[in-house]
Amino acid sequence: MAFLHERLDNGLEVIAETTESALSTSVGFFAMTGARDERDDLWGVSHFLEHMVFKGTADLSGDDINRRFDAMGASVNAFTGEEDTVYYAAVLPRQQHEAVDLLARMMRPALREEDFATEKLVILEEIRMYDDQPPFGADDRCRASFFGRHPLGRSVLGSTESIQALPVEAMRDYHRRRYAPGTVVLAASGAVDFPALVESARRLCGDWEPVPAGDRRVPGVPRAPAVGGVERIVRPAAALAYAVRMAAGPAEPDPDRYAAKLLAVVLGDSSGSRLYWALVDPGDAEQASLHHQDFLDAGLFVTQLSCDAADAESLLERMLGIYAEARNQGIDTREVTQARNKLAGRVVLGGERPRRRLFDVGLEWSHSRTYRSVADTLRIVESLTLDDVQRVLSAWAPDGPAATVLAGPGAEGETSA
């Protein structure tokens, strides 16, 4: 396994993790832009733009793009988050050139008015789809309540109103500012011909105008929620209640981020954790979990619960009691060992898939210009100790101040929010 890196004259970074035994090649453009880079009048533009990138360039129609990807047998997709928009394709090695060529051209989309109008309908359907399914918007509302005016409070999809109001010119301007060398990284993993990758990048992206990247971090990240207490979303037809609770945790650059993930496995992994044995194993809850999520300048401990509506509040109390007990009475060495072995297993198995490695390597480089091999990550995980976990638990209590949203059938007298 080797890591290779090249910087084009215009500042575009090209990276690859090559694996000799790999049977496939994954390539992707990592645009460092997402919901946190939007303003109120641009809410939802990053994700909408991700869709529009597949609708064609000046020379290619959307149908052309879909047909070309299918013709190379590519597994192609894209996703948009709070901080990143990622376009990727997994192909057989002989298709590397073809896949990079098409993805690179797509990074300069036509953004045609008529495509924009049709795709707007698809985005509105996507919003309705998520709104119809658990946790019925509780996750987005909870993040908004935790972060308040901080840019991370903005949901990725936008709202029906913000999408309907968005003009195509605003998207074109956003694209010009955010899809430039300095904000975009071209990454590859698996069986990669790196000289050919760099050559493709020079030819197809060499004339991209650089735009100053700017620092996206915001001073004064909240340690406590902007809106505390329990908010409710009422869905009379829901069979279960869904709770989401967010408390502060270590941010991405914090060396304690791995210990935070280990702590979340001990306390709230989907099996074999304290929450699992207390709530899921006896069948009191359908799901009761804790995970750690990190951003450039903030982190969260996210508690999720789904259960019978009548039990939601008492079970949430029990979960907080389990966190408090761990903090006051400590964690067992055996629990840490089991969680560490689970995490290590995930690192090794995930490391075998070039597609999965593309995301790990591409996002890490986009955010911090660092590279970590599977072996590097394994070493970090295996060096974590009980003390590390205890330190995170006392510094960042997952039962500390939090935003909480409860979505469900609701009690009598409550009205839909």
Binding site: L23, D70, A71, G73, L92, L121, E125, M129, G283, L349
Partner: protein
């Protein structure tokens, strides 16, 4: 591409399959017992699922917690699942952990404790899952389609029915596992960094002296109505269509799945192009293929705003009608390319390969080599795919809608 496959059959009827994958550190192993939901007696829908859950709650000299701790302590990504035909226990791990882990699986299969004091927790867990499914409109739509399309009891929900699960007892579970958790018909599959002979020796030691009986075959009954509307108060209406096609073990299934891929398999497919790209009617629309050993179903799915659901259904039906006689060489070449790279990329995942070789053994009685599968895709041509489409328009179309208002099929659905 070099491929190293192994197979063996133990005296007691267990089939053991293996595939060595170079370049991987992991192995994935799966034990598929012939204890699927098809054996749920009438009025006890969910028995297999509850039994599968209870198997993990103590095995051999381990209690419930020790079973999980032993697997997770070894870094195993484990899962337990009940399908129509099998109850499966699987694990993926770093290869060196395998020898320590196999005895745990052997105890789950041969010596589950099935303790009375774990029964209620297991039942509640199954009921919680059923309640969560109530909130998943896509899952409910496909479940309703299987229920009306497949001959009874093949379409019954594997996850169970709440009213039935409420009535089950621990004695029901013990009786079920006594009848169906058997070596005869069991498939064990392993893939990744394997030492085949060592693995086979260990399986022989752990499971070779396990004697069992053969469970009676399941009687197949009638099918359900051709159309069903499931009332559901939400913004979107969900649509599922199904019709009968040849099963996987029939060679014509390659032609059929190619046709379905052209209809709704990738971003350049007919349904994606016409329903989503051209008209913006939905976020998700697709066509697929689902097979049992003796019959299979072609299926189409979409979810869209209630007001636009009828138009979405109309366009989907029109695209199905338009398919015969219209397949182009380019379209078929794209299907072949997708199939080829899918097959090759599967070789990068131990879990995917362990699943694939077991599935093939169950359906066709042997493992199809990668070379033979690639060759079969190469031999697809427009004429054979068109011949497979001769059965369209489907004579036994089943239609499910889930949403506020029922939809109409123009001209009706033949009963």
């Amino acid at each position: 591409m070099k491929q190293t496959l192994f197979s063996a059959t133990l005296d007691n009827g267990i089939t053991v399959l293996g595939e060595e994958l170079s370049g991987l550190e992991s192995v994935a192993v799966a034990f598929h017992a012939p204890a699927g939901a098809i054996h749920d007696p009438q009025g006890r829908c969910g028995l297999a699922t509850l039994a599968g859950e209870l198997c993990l709650r103590g095995a051999g000299d381990r209690d419930s917690r020790q079973v999980v701790e032993e697997l997770e302590g070894a870094g195993v990504q484990w899962s337990q699942a009940v399908s129509t035909t099998h109850t499966s226990f699987s694990g993926a791990m770093v290869a060196r952990q395998l020898p320590d882990v196999l005895p745990v699986y052997a105890d789950i299969l041969r010596r589950p404790r099935l303790p009375d004091d774990e029964f209620e927790g297991a039942r509640q867990m199954v009921l919680q899952n059923l309640a969560a499914i109530e909130d998943d409109p896509g899952h409910r739509t496909m479940a309703a389609l299987r229920r009306i399309h497949y001959p009874s009891p093949w379409g019954m929900p594997t996850e169970g029915l709440s009213a039935d699960v409420e009535q089950l007892t621990c004695a029901n579970v013990r009786g079920f596992l006594g009848r169906h958790l058997q070596p005869r018909g069991m498939i064990i599959a392993i893939a990744g960094r394997i030492d085949w002979q060592d693995f086979l020796d260990r399986i022989e030691r752990l499971l070779g002296d396990w004697q069992g009986t053969t469970a009676p075959a399941v009687a197949t009954g009638p099918r359900g109505p051709a159309m069903r509307h499931v009332p559901h108060d939400a913004q979107q209406t969900h649509i599922a269509l199904g019709w009968s096609v040849p099963p996987y073990r029939d060679d014509a299934s390659y032609d059929v799945t190619a046709a379905l891929s052209i209809l709704g398999g990738g971003p350049s497919s007919r349904l994606f192009t016409e329903v989503r790209e051209r008209r913006g009617l939905c976020y998700s629309v697709s066509a697929g293929y689902q097979t049992h050993r003796d019959f299979a179903m072609a299926l189409c799915y979409s979810g869209t705003t209630a007001e636009r659901a009828q138009e979405t259904l109309d366009v989907m039906l029109a695209e199905i009608d338009r398919l015969p006689g219209s397949i182009s060489v380019d379209e078929l070449e794209r299907v072949k390319a997708r199939a080829r790279s899918g097959l090759v990329m599967q070789q990068e995942s131990s879990a995917a390969r362990a699943g694939a070789i077991a599935r093939q053994w169950y359906h066709v009685g042997h493992v199809r080599t990668l070379a033979s599968e690639l060759d079969r895709y190469d031999r697809l041509d427009v004429a054979t795919v068109e011949a497979a489409l001769a059965a369209l328009p489907p004579r036994d179309l089943s239609v499910v809608s889930l949403g506020r208002e029922p939809l109409e099929v123009p001209g009706g659905v033949p009963a």
